[in-house]
Amino acid sequence: MFKRDERTGEPVIFVFEGEAIEACAGDSVAAALIAAGVRATGLHPVTGEARAPYCMMGACFECLVEIDGVPNRQACMAPVASGMNVSRQRGARR
């Protein structure tokens, strides 16, 4: 579980897997998902295991999600935007 110190940004609502998530302006998608208690942000293409952000700086590529129909986006490098539609990637891309 994560605690938030002070809310510096305006609230931003986006959708993850059909559920509304409240984030703060300035959050990355990965940070917002972590804050919302999401543990698995995708399934690994090789093993199908649950995977989640590891480095938070755009190096590890563990946080790949689909954002507004564009796949293989690094959630940690994408700032949240109102109405954004984010979904997990399950396994290899077809």
Partner: protein, 455 residues
């Protein structure tokens, strides 16, 4: 935007080195473009500093707050700043950058180029490290810096000053870590002691470190020193960390968040792309790209900061300055040289004290090393034993290094493991060949780029 920019100087990266270079270049009147993949200046160490309120700056400490001044001076400097922009290719003779942003693709053709791409966390391959809930220590700092988020009940595990800094910051944020598990054995203290006198010639960094450690201990955070055989376990995410303490007793701590750290290493993607020669540095257990006295790696291309060799923010800032002054035709002055010597004084001591252990550099066979393709240490060792002359040959059989991270996480461990298997040195085994694009990008972006004829 499509098209071509043709500044006097282009800088890749807006951490301490990139900012130091830009500020110095603009002081010398040089037309400067800075390209950054982050959304705001500061790199990783000063990430989020422009948006941080007074409270957050206080808890993150004076080194972080100093970044606010540097970033402000950068904003006032007149350098053109392109955030959220990925450099996906670098060319030389003459230097060029191929860039991609949400607005489209563009090219930069500067007269001079300074690469300031910084460091990466060293991979910490231990059993269970790929479980959700396991991150680098840097990741927890980033969550704190950019979103004010602190993990509740986290265990920090590994070695290096960053662990103590993070623990102190979490204490000041009101959510101390559940435990700090340090993997520095008593032997390392003995080995590092002869290097202490030289470090004490510029004692400020060590004094700061000592204060951080004292603060963490004073707050009653359970600290386990000399820990070994770390392993993480859990069903679909991490639930516990097991290790042996300095007496050899097995310990197990329940936790949903583990932050691993074993120091940082240069981000090699651009220097490897440019085929710059690298030397193996055993002291820092990483490759170091070759630079000349003016920090150049090729004609008109300079490399400053942790992207060359780990030295920390102060060294990075000064190197950025030095590279820009060299380009401006102003040689090193005595003040800059002295400041660099002071900033570097504690490095040999810290490198030896916090050296990553062999079980992290060359883990046991069953441990996953390449996270992207789920390749184990054993497979990499076996490849070396069976004749792969380096990680590039092993890559073709195992796919290690072929995943989206392009070796950013597994690279060093792969080099060391293939070398160990083949009974050769990492310098002989080499490193993954890095080819463009440096990051995945949509084909439409390359297709839409305006092509300008060159004379």
């Amino acid at each position: 935007m499509n098209g071509v920019l043709t500044p006097d100087l282009a800088i890749v990266g807006a951490g301490p080195a990139g900012l130091g270079a830009a500020i110095a270049a603009r002081e010398a009147g040089i037309d400067t473009v800075v390209v950054d993949d982050q959304s705001a200046p500061g790199g990783q160490i000063w990430r989020g500093v422009e948006d941080a309120g007074v409270q957050r700056r206080l808890l993150l400490g004076p080194d972080y707050a100093r970044g606010a001044d540097v970033v402000a001076r950068f904003r006032d400097s007149g350098a053109a700043y392109y955030p959220l922009t990925t450099v996906w290719n670098v060319g030389m003779a003459p230097p060029t950058l191929d860039c991609a942003s949400a607005a489209g693709g563009f090219e930069v053709r500067p007269k001079h180029l300074i690469l300031a791409t910084g460091a990466l966390e060293r991979a910490v391959p231990i059993p269970g490290w790929t479980l959700p809930g396991v991150t680098t220590a840097g990741a927890l700092q980033i969550l704190l810096k950019t979103s004010g988020l602190v993990a509740d009940g986290a265990v920090l595990a590994g070695s290096g000053p960053l662990l103590w800094l993070l623990a102190a910051q979490m204490i000041d944020a009101g959510t101390p870590p559940a435990a700090l598990v340090e993997t520095v054995s008593p032997v390392r203290y003995l080995a590092a002691t002869p290097l202490l006198p030289a470090a004490l010639r510029a004692p400020a960094p060590l004094a700061k470190g000592a204060r951080l450690i004292a603060k963490v201990l004073r707050h009653g955070v359970p600290c386990y020193r000399g820990a070994r055989d770390l392993a993480l376990a859990g069903e679909t995410s991490v639930e516990r960390i097991r290790f042996r303490d300095w007496r050899g007793r097995t310990r197990s701590l329940e936790t949903g968040h583990v932050a691993l750290h074993q120091g940082v290493v240069p981000n090699p993607q651009t220097t490897r792309l440019l085929r710059v020669p690298h030397d193996w540095c055993e002291r820092q257990a990483s490759f170091v790209p070759r630079r000349d006295a003016a920090l150049a790696i090729a004609p008109s291309i300079h490399l400053a900061g942790d992207g060359a060799r780990i030295g920390g923010a102060d060294v990075a800032y000064l190197e950025g300055r030095r590279a820009a002054l060299a380009i401006a035709g102003r040689g090193d002055n005595a003040d800059c040289a002295r400041a660099l010597r002071e900033a570097e004084a504690s490095r040999p001591f810290l490198d030896r004290l916090y050296a990553p252990t062999t079980d992290v550099r060359r883990p046991a066979d069953p441990v996953i090393v390449c996270r992207c393709e789920r390749v184990t240490a054993g497979a990499l060792r076996r490849a070396g034993r069976e004749g792969a002359v380096g990680p590039n040959q092993a890559k073709f059989f195992l796919r290690a290094g072929m995943g989206p991270c392009q070796g950013r996480v597994c690279g060093l461990a792969a080099s060391e493991l293939v070398a160990e298997g083949g009974r050769i040195n990492p310098s002989d085994a080499g490193y993954y060949h890095i080819r463009p694009p440096l990051k995945p990008l949509p084909l439409s972006l390359i297709a839409s780029a305006t092509v300008e004829e060159s004379d």
